[in-house]
């Protein structure tokens, strides 16, 4: 039988890991035809940790300039450093690196804790909850609104835009393009507003940043706003949801974490991030012919770097398909590696840790209803649209 794997086919979404094993062992550079053929006729999936890592470090060969989403025309998307190579990428990234300071991130902890607590309190007496819609979905949006000083009253709009653009199968569908357009207009309006009245938020900080003595244009600043919005929500929602699912599926690990919350400051968080990477893969395109695991990929082709597979590579992790919250995870590819390494990683780590801590403190042992889990995507994100849990109701 011929091996088949299509990350855009829902039949592979629930458990892609056996297919990743097959690819790492037999088809480490697996060619896949694009059904839609919007831009590229085909792409190549890279599944071994070493190959994924090497590609991420070699940005000259594996370029981001034509986008990082499979078979998507990046020229239709807002221009951000997500879709850039150095030197421009570095100039823009250095701005965000300098304003997203450790103290600014640490200040988010009470905000996330309060929000997560209110959400968990609302369902604790019921004994059931859909942790996607009733818990995880509000937390990253709240964090983003705090960082960018956006009105919380509009949070549903932000989430809707995020899911409409990045939550589906076609990031340039008519619906997605409409949402991109609405967002673009919103960010441009916001920049004009912030120029009039400066506050102590990320947008205001970016507004006053310079690149080599030059001010940023309104276009570039609204691009930053879009980036902060696009990258922060769907990803982190799925990070939180997948961690809740994992702990529901491994009650022994959940119990261990309840008995020893100190594991949060050592191994638990990184293992949860490794085990179900919320970003399963992002794309690059080749700038020259390049040979990876004995397969030559021609110049100009798109490759999909499977972080989810790298995180389960048996040459790096012993028993990779088992969740072990005491595993000393030295590295994983959940946030990528190299020059595009997720700049919001510390924010995402904080949101995941704090929301999970609150859930563990507020409700007793939970079960996950596996049949009730609805997946919405595999790449780029391990999308979860529904994740019902049940637990002993909490009185009072």
């Amino acid at each position: 039988m011929t091996f088949e794997f299509d990350p855009f086919d829902p039949q592979y979404w629930e458990n892609p890991y056996p297919y990743y094993v097959e690819m790492r062992h037999h088809y480490p550079v697996f060619k896949k035809e694009n059904d839609a053929k919007r831009v590229w006729p085909h792409y190549w999936m890279i599944s071994r940790a070493q190959d994924v890592n090497d590609a991420l470090f070699d940005w000259k060969t594996f370029s981001s300039a034509t986008g990082t989403l499979i078979d998507t025309d990046a020229s239709l998307l807002p221009e951000t450093m997500f879709h850039m190579d150095p030197p421009r990428h570095d100039q823009l990234r250095s701005i965000l690196s300098r304003v997203l300071t450790p103290s600014r991130i640490a200040n988010l902890e009470p905000v996330v804790r309060k929000q997560a607590q209110e959400l968990a309190d609302a369902f604790k007496a019921r004994g059931t909850a859909d942790v996607v819609t009733e818990f995880a979905r509000s937390i990253p949006t709240m964090t983003m609104c705090t960082l960018m000083n956006l009105p919380w009253g509009e949070h549903e709009k932000f989430l809707t835009w995020n899911l409409a653009t990045l939550g589906g199968a076609d990031f340039t569908s008519p619906e997605a393009l409409q949402a991109w357009g609405e967002m673009d207009a919103y960010w441009k309006g916001l920049v004009v507003e912030r120029r009039k009245e400066r506050t102590d938020d990320l947008v205001s900080m970016i507004l006053h940043a310079q690149v080599e003595g030059e001010d940023l244009t309104n276009e570039e600043i609204s691009g930053f706003c879009g980036l902060l919005h696009d990258a922060s929500q769907n990803t982190t929602i799925n990070m939180i949801c997948n961690a809740i699912i994992s702990l529901g599926r491994y009650p022994d690990q959940q119990r261990k974490l309840r008995d020893d919350p100190g594991l949060w400051s050592t191994t638990a968080l990184e293992e949860l991030l490794r085990f179900e990477s919320p970003v399963q893969g992002l794309a690059r395109s080749t700038t020259c012919d390049v040979t990876v695991s004995d397969v030559t990929i021609p110049a100009g082709d798109q490759v999909l770097l499977l972080y989810g597979s790298a995180n389960h590579d048996e040459t790096v992790f012993e028993n990779p398909d088992v969740l072990d919250i005491e595993r000393p995870v030295k590295t994983h590819w959940t946030f990528g590696h190299g020059i595009h390494y997720c700049l919001g990683n510390a924010v995402a780590r904080l949101e995941t840790r704090v929301s999970l801590q609150v859930l563990l403190e507020t409700i007793p042992m939970w079960d996950i209803d596996n049949a009730g889990i609805e997946r919405g995507q595999l790449v780029p994100t391990r999308g979860v649209n529904a994740a019902p849990i049940s637990f002993e109701p909490v009185k009072g």
Binding site: L56, F57, S94, P102, G338, Y341, A346
Partner: protein
């Protein structure tokens, strides 16, 4: 040894992910080698505060910064 004390800045290359946050925050201290990893090019005590911020921003905790009092 200066009045600012002796500063020692180091990158653990086994942990470095090449995210380059350190270079963006403290460009006079860190440079990226051909290996894509961060290397310390300058132990200037005047750069201590920026080096500490770079260390705190490092996603893999690869940077250590110590200062002995003069």
């Amino acid at each position: 040894v200066t009045e600012l004390g002796v500063v020692r800045i180091a990158v653990d290359l086994d942990r470095c992910l090449g995210a380059q946050n350190c270079r963006h925050i403290a460009p006079d201290v860190f440079e990226i080698g051909d290996d894509g990893l961060s290397h310390v090019k300058n132990q200037d005590p005047a750069q201590y505060d920026l080096a500490v911020e770079a260390a705190q921003s490092c996603p893999s905790g690869a940077i250590s910064v110590t200062r002995s009092q003069p």
